[in-house]
Point group: D2
Chain length 411, copies 4
């Protein structure tokens, strides 16, 4: 009888043979998986909560340095998470050169810059949508500051989420707010560093419970189009009404040249911010399938794949590793779709055949393949087990006591 | 003690005084209400059903002539429903001049033309989105035929709903279908009669249960924009995911110059096609409020207000009258909003005040006002009671027995 | 021309005549409205927030004394809000006799006692559903403490909401948790003061995003039945899935003898905790209609009508007054339904007629009636205007600065 | 290089070794899978449609004989579908002995009897909930007739779905209808053959769009409890509001001893009646996981696993085979959960660990295992491919032309 690792290898071997039989090269698949980049968010390593309270977690990162250190662990173990998104002002520092050096030493680099125009008291009734020009200007200044940080850190991505909305009919003039948004998004767009992009995120509701100024992809697309060519749409998987077909939106946005990136997470009810794929991984697979469809048709979208989750009952680093593995799993399976056979089945209106082709790929156990990919990337064969064995969590749970002076965060 | 009519008059008197006290002229309000146009659909007078079956109703209209006669009743009693939407081929005739004469005699006129590219077997897998160019061409020919009918009938509106979609992941190539839709919608647009418009309707799901080619307002807007200046979006109140803020979409579409019309109805669950306002009339009020907001800001949208319902448990003509009264009620109340006070309250972030201003209008009993409007239009003081007293229903229930030769319909 | 008050009186007069014409006595309606009791929650007068943060409001009550003072204002102005629900430990005091004296002086009295077994760190993974018996016991002790407070304050109602749930499949053993709930709810039931009742609240989701131990009315009913005769179900209007027919559940619970009370609020999306009736007041009307249906059929349910809202963008006292007025409006309109006519229309399957009878009541402007009721109760003719004119808000906004020592609260 | 069958065998070998390493016996798993029974519905082999129409499919079964023949194909190929549910009157025959012989020859047997009290015109406004006692009695007579058919066919299961509901507030007296339901369900229960059971199905909405008399599991449970010990609840996977946790309901119903069976299907939006597992197979896995949890805790629920789907875009027999394979896949994976490890992880609040244990089972490729199971059952290694190769479809598509005299069906 073989041991677990031998079984893994035997399975990898068998998978290669099976793919060959279907005209697919496992090496091509592997090279795609090695090139995959998944960006983790600094704020995902610190405390967060629900409206009923924040439960402090042992080992939760308290400042940007601890957040980067945790992100580096995730990258070390998975091999595909070099980039870390920052949140300003939570990750603000006085010396960004030093921060870049720090990231280099940790083996990571700075990804998207995420402004915060929702937490200060002045933003209670809006930021770019606020009826008071002084508040709008303050939000604008904060965005200019973030663009300045992009220049200092080399970040090429400004990722924009607005909590702007209202709670009651009549409370605000929706159409005037739309104009203010157009105006300030344009200003922001025009101030971007050379070659940089900005992403406009949408969300159906919360914290606004009557209207949200950027409520859906249609509004985000409008704002991105009116801002300019370097503005694109960001799709957060948890920001839709129940039932909405997200992969359709993804395909549509690619087709109009405006899909800029994702915030990966999952939800069963509202914007639950659960581990990506924990409710329905098949949906993530179908999203990747549409992206690969677009590539097969000649599109070359520049998509930032970012995680945005809020783990309350799971240790942060473990939850992040789990999410990365799920995203890789979905992507790997999408790469296994027999595209030629699919096109053939579609041409014959063979609905059952089409679905079986997707399912043949999705039902494949890609764990041996992903283990091999990580092995070749110099990462961990079994990231969660290795993380648990590493003693890292015990170390941070012990060390990270009390509040750090000057540190800002969500919870 | 006064009788019902005296009370009505006394109330109308009091309402006038109250409005005067708030700086509003009841005559201005009345003139707006008299100018209101609500278009009823020919197919709303015939049988329809759920997927579990069609229950035949006594008196249900069987052909275009009976449908027009019923529509004329609704107009006679309400005074605001001169236009009747036709559905092709159900309302197809050999002689449209005769049909126009018939409508003229009935005191109604032909409104929007609604093509049908979903009922024939060839459309099972799509019309403009079908992978087979022959099916797409057939749908295109049908639309040309409908445009020809527009020319013959003087209709200035082509109202487009597509059942196109798929039921399973992988079944179709979503992006290619998008291209076909763009192509055929453009062709349709370019063939429109001078001065005519076409409306693109969207729907989240049903009959497609995986994807729908025109699934939401964002997609409909894209298709309308790519088709040309005379293509606009049609908002059906029952075609959204749960929770979606429809009045926000309405305001947004007006702001981008692309709101073309409504299909009024209501729903509690999915696309239930219930009587407008029967679940939540406040929503209809808020929609009219956004339209009046846009007007107050200088917009002059050209909006077609059309009913599209499917009554299974209500007699058709009664249900239509009820719907018209509800729509009038919502509009009348929206006209009573003290807009100056609202702007003032908004400028002070007085959320409670803003809401109270809307509610003061919405809670007003406008029945005396609407009765007066109908009186001045030469219509009925109490349309439902008058309809019931008229004997019309007994007459059609008796006369309309059996199937008419050559007649087409839904159920 | 008459002034506003004259118009109000004239309308009241006309309403009386109209009701008389329909065989209804306005005095009977008034006596029902005067007997109406709406309980406001102490926590509704203090700060609260969303998961994105708590925005401090000027004048927000900081301890139980300020909360009671605010509640007394609401009662003084509306005349129907004598009872105030307390939240333990937020409203815990050392001397409950003194607290009762305080309430007596304020003209209010203590209503339901609401335990809190969700905020302490030990409850992160559950209270009665926690796998650790020590945590379950701690929750039980807290409930015993609350029952003790019921005895000291004379409260006859224990109102139970549990945040218990899980976020991921497999995380907990759902069925064992059910057993623990049954066990502890029974113990709680058996410890209730003589004649007192306990209410079991349900909620679809949040803060648990995979499962919630008391997720719907069916589960709450089961727990109430297994706990004993004095356990009943509490219906919070915001705790259902989209589309759910709440009035049906209300009718069903009354029919099985287990409807104990309401938490009134409204929502458009999830558990938004908005002002009751602000999204759809018709739903509240239909709920009251079912209650009156049950009474007409001989039921005598003992129902506690309580408000539970979380106002972020509205001043607390104003929002509470508004809510009370909305609830009164819904009830008043339900009282105007011509029940005999309705029964007659139902017996003829006259769906249109049935709906028109409800709408005739619902569309009635009951503001003159409610003003008269308040007048006769010695309360305010126009509560919101009087509140604003009273200077109370300016006073509390000025006085309530800083944090009170020893005070506990949500935000 | 190996061929597909060699790869399958090698994989099966490896799976056995892997399970052994985790203390699981592949033979035990296989014996459970061989004992699995999945009942297919006769009506699933005939035409069906949406409310927009029925598209006739080539080869669709036209009467009970053709339906049984198709069901026999599914059983021949999958080995686990011996039972076929009948629908009365669609499957009514004059000689049930002959029908039993026919099934015996086909290698299948008769499963649940499904009455139809929704399609005749008299049921438009309800069956057991109808206000007219004559209609209720007619429905009762039909149920007695179905019970008679149970006795003649040896069926031990009466499966009840009621379309009863209303479309508008006020239309009916909900509470009186509840009483009628209780009365007639009790009568039905008391007339059941010895040892037979009846299942009460619930559904949120459709065809009723305001209220449905048996709207959710809580109502179905109440009706089952009031009817008697042999009445249980039937869970149709597509009959819930969005977001509802079905596996929680399943666990709850088992715990109260009232889970009687399933109608398997899937949905993305409403009651879409799609192939089981086509939207989210993980949910089916979690349902089986709760059933196995209950068994591990000592419950021995008697659950009927039945398919109820409506395929419009897929050939009926293929769709049924696909569904069976999906259900087997979910069950097989649930059997692979390392239950001891799970209990251990739960005892340590190791949420990540718990989820990984479920996912380790769910991510396993069980196709080799299921192929082996089918091989040992004498069924097909690859049912879909074998079916396509068999020529059966071409045969029925050719033979089944025209309408059969006296045959009844949905579409």
């Amino acid at each position: 009888m073989q041991n677990a690792e031998q079984i893994l290898r035997a399975r990898y071997q068998l998978l290669g043979e099976e793919l060959q039989g279907r005209g697919l090269s496992i090496d091509t698949v592997k090279s795609r998986l090695k090139a995959q980049e998944i960006e983790t968010p600094s704020w995902g390593y610190g405390n967060s909560g629900t409206r009923f309270g924040v439960f402090k977690q042992p080992g939760a990162a308290r400042d940007v340095h601890e957040r980067l250190a945790d992100a580096a662990q995730v990258h070390r173990l998975t091999g595909v998470c070099r980039k870390v998104a920052l949140h300003i002002p939570w990750d603000k520092v006085s010396d960004y050169d030093a921060l870049k050096e720090e990231t280099a030493e940790l083996g990571v680099e700075i990804g998207a810059i995420n402004p915060n125009v929702f937490q200060e008291a002045c933003y209670e009734l809006g930021s770019f949508g606020h009826r008071d020009p002084a508040v709008r200007q303050r939000a604008q200044e904060h965005l200019y500051e973030c663009i300045e940080i992009m220049e200092q850190t080399g970040s090429m991505l400004l990722s924009l989420w607005f909590a702007d909305g209202s709670n009651y009919p009549g409370q605000v003039n929706i159409t005037r707010r739309k104009t203010w948004f157009e105006d300030h998004l344009k200003k922001t767009h025009d101030a971007l560093p050379d070659g940089a992009r900005m992403l406009v995120e949408y969300k159906l509701f919360e914290p606004g419970f009557y209207h949200t100024d950027v409520a859906d992809w249609g509004m985000a697309l409008h704002f991105a189009q009116s801002a300019g060519p370097r503005a694109e749409v960001l799709v957060d998987l948890g920001h839709h009404a129940q039932g909405v077909n997200i992969e359709h939106i993804v395909a549509f946005l690619i087709a109009v040249g405006k899909l800029g990136g994702f915030h990966f997470n999952n939800r069963k009810y509202a914007d639950d911010d659960l581990t990506t794929g924990s409710v329905n991984l098949y949906e993530v697979f179908l999203i990747y399938h549409e992206i690969l469809n677009a590539e097969a048709a000649g599109s070359r979208p520049n998509i930032a794949y970012m995680i945005d989750q809020s783990h309350i009952m799971k240790p942060k680093v473990e939850a992040m590793i789990q999410s990365v593995l799920n995203i890789q799993t979905a992507y790997a399976r999408a790469l296994l779709v027999d595209r030629r056979a699919l096109t053939g089945a579609q041409a014959q209106d063979d609905t059952v055949g089409c679905e079986e082709i997707l399912r043949a790929a999705y039902d494949t156990d890609v764990r041996p393949l992903l283990a091999q990919v990580r092995l070749e990337l110099g990462a961990s064969l079994d990231p969660l087990a290795d993380y648990r064995a590493s003693g890292y969590f015990d170390k941070i749970a012990t060390e990270r006591q009390g509040v750090l002076e000057g540190a800002a965060s969500w919870g």
